[in-house]
Amino acid sequence: MSSAPISNAPAAGIGLPRGQQRLTGLGSAVATIALLALLAAPLAVYPVFLMKILCFALFATAFNLLLGYVGLLSFGHAAFFGGAAYFTAHAAKVWGFEPLLAVLFGAAGAAAIGLVIGFLAIRRQGIYFAMVTLALSQMVFFVFLQAPFTHGEDGIQNVPRGRLLGLFDLSDTLTMYYFVLAVFVFGFFAAWRIVHSPFGHVLQAIRENENRAVSLGYRVERYKLGAFVMSAFIAGLAGGTKALVFQIATLTDVAWQMSGEVILMTLLGGLGTILGPSVGAGLVVTLQNYLAASGLPVTVVIGVIFVLCVLVFRRGLVGEAIHLLRRRAQGLPRR
């Protein structure tokens, strides 16, 4: 007889209880090394570039919380990212909020937008959900285009970074970097905690078999809405932080292209993996940087890379790596 049946391969590299346990040891090792590397990184790499990566990595992590772990494809996440950027920028510049408070205010605003969009979209399934989120986020875009406080095409410029808790001057790039890193670690850990919480356990059940979850008495819309708002909040943390890093909030961050970009980052890195979206974000931001200097058409090149990746690495970079490790972990001891 052949060996024991290999567990069902997940459709999109989505969280696996059994394999995950085996990889936990590896996971914490990777986390420690990554954190140390991030602490030391500004010694070697331009900090503003790193901060940009961290902001997008957090944004993609928030997006993945929804698509990777609940199975909801939002095509409107720019509304949360860009919306928070405006709120944070306005709070910091006009109201003189302390930077941490300004970022939290931005994230709370994003969560509020998320509550409204989520409430209207959550009853739709599959592609209709994506279309409703796109439509509603476009409405948000036009609101920001028209609202006086956003200054239309100019955006909110010269946003002061301020003094963190009144103590640390964030106009110092390195200080700012560690602030951004702290926000990232917090948001990243929050997403990880949600996925591995009792609530996350129910979300996984809903994704596996929604009807069965309903028949067990779960009001699944509320769980999905909860996850949607949490995702919007974390995306808002990312957007608000980005506004402070670049000291500007513009329409670019609320435009639909931004919603597309985060999907791309997530799929490239690995949907439904904790680390994938960050890796994808790092890759895309790096490519954008180099390509911008080279004069090549950025969108086209990234599009081609994306298509190739999807064809060759269906699970995304991190997804494929985990798959490989898992296969070896299952295969080697048996033979």
């Binding site: 049946p5 567990s7 069902n8 997940p10 989505i14 969280g15 696996l16 209880p17 059994r18 905690r193 949600i194 591995h196 919480s197 009792p198 609530f199 996350g200 356990h201 129910v202 996984q204 059940a205 596996e208 078999n209 009807n211 069965r212 979850a213 309903v214 028949s215 067990l216 008495g217 779960y218 009001r219 699944v220 769980y223 909860g226 949490m230």
Partner: protein
């Protein structure tokens, strides 16, 4: 004299439908069904394929909205209640196509079923290590359906009969007064049928069960009452002996299966 509080159950059905009708694009899959399920009984719903049995289940548990008719459960009108809320009231169903959480282990399947009533379902800020609180109860349920040695197996990897057993365990986890099973033994071998049949008898103690079942030996053995459905309408209703003696039933359904 003051009337003593009556055990309502014996006279009032715990679950009843009146004039239940479901149209799909003009086709009446269920047509004017009156159904009474009494507390503490095992009640079979039988009928040929396409008779509308699953549709009746979907209507009773509100996975489908009836085109016409009313449904009462435990003294309440649930005609317009949402399916999750029907389950919360204590009317819990299984599915014809086995419904398990395939990528979760057997243990985690049962934990999910236990989480809601333990107040652990919405906690997003805690580690799911707290779910181990549910393990003792989960182990009992898993044991009750004979799956103890499969606790750590992914539900999707279980053989078919075991999946059905797991589904019964997750249904039982809610400790519902009324359980609906849609063909719990379909496609099973003799051994599995015996086991699930014994299991249903065991779990039915102190509860009410409504089940769709094709195997008439099981029905006659297990069920107190039988309702026969054909082409969306009720053909006969009563105890097994009376129903099986009904010539229309023999013609429509049993005649072909009972040589």
């Amino acid at each position: 004299m003051q009337a003593a509080p009556m055990p309502v159950a014996s006279t009032e059905p715990i679950l009843s439908a009146r004039g239940l009708t479901k149209e799909f694009f003009g086709f009446k899959a269920v047509n004017g069904v009156d159904l009474d399920v009494y507390s503490g009984t095992i009640h079979a719903l039988i009928g040929p394929n396409g008779a509308g049995k699953t549709t009746v289940f979907n209507l009773l548990t509100k996975f489908l909205s009836p085109t016409a008719g009313t449904i009462r459960f435990d003294g309440r009108d649930i005609t317009r209640t949402k399916p999750a809320d029907v389950a919360r009231l204590g009317l819990v169903r299984s599915f014809q196509i086995s419904a398990v959480f395939a990528q979760l282990t057997v243990l985690d399947n049962v934990r999910v079923a236990l989480q809601r009533q333990s107040g652990l379902a919405t906690q997003f800020w805690r580690s799911n290590a707290v779910l181990s609180r549910l393990d003792a109860r989960a182990a009992e349920l898993i044991e009750a359906v004979g799956l103890s040695s499969f606790s750590e197996t992914l539900a999707g990897d279980l053989p078919y009969g075991r999946k059905r057993a797991l589904e019964i365990a997750t249904t039982l986890a809610l400790d519902p007064p009324v359980m609906l099973f849609d063909e719990p033994m379909a496609g099973m071998g003799v051994e599995d049928i015996g086991r699930i049949s014994a299991l249903i008898r065991k779990v039915a103690a102190g509860r009410t069960v409504l089940m769709v079942e094709h195997n008439l030996n099981v029905v006659s053995d297990l069920c107190d009452r039988v309702t026969v459905l054909a082409r969306g309408e009720i053909l006969a209703d009563g105890d097994y002996a009376a129903v099986s003696a009904d010539p229309r039933v023999r013609e429509a359904y049993m005649g072909s299966e009972h040589a």
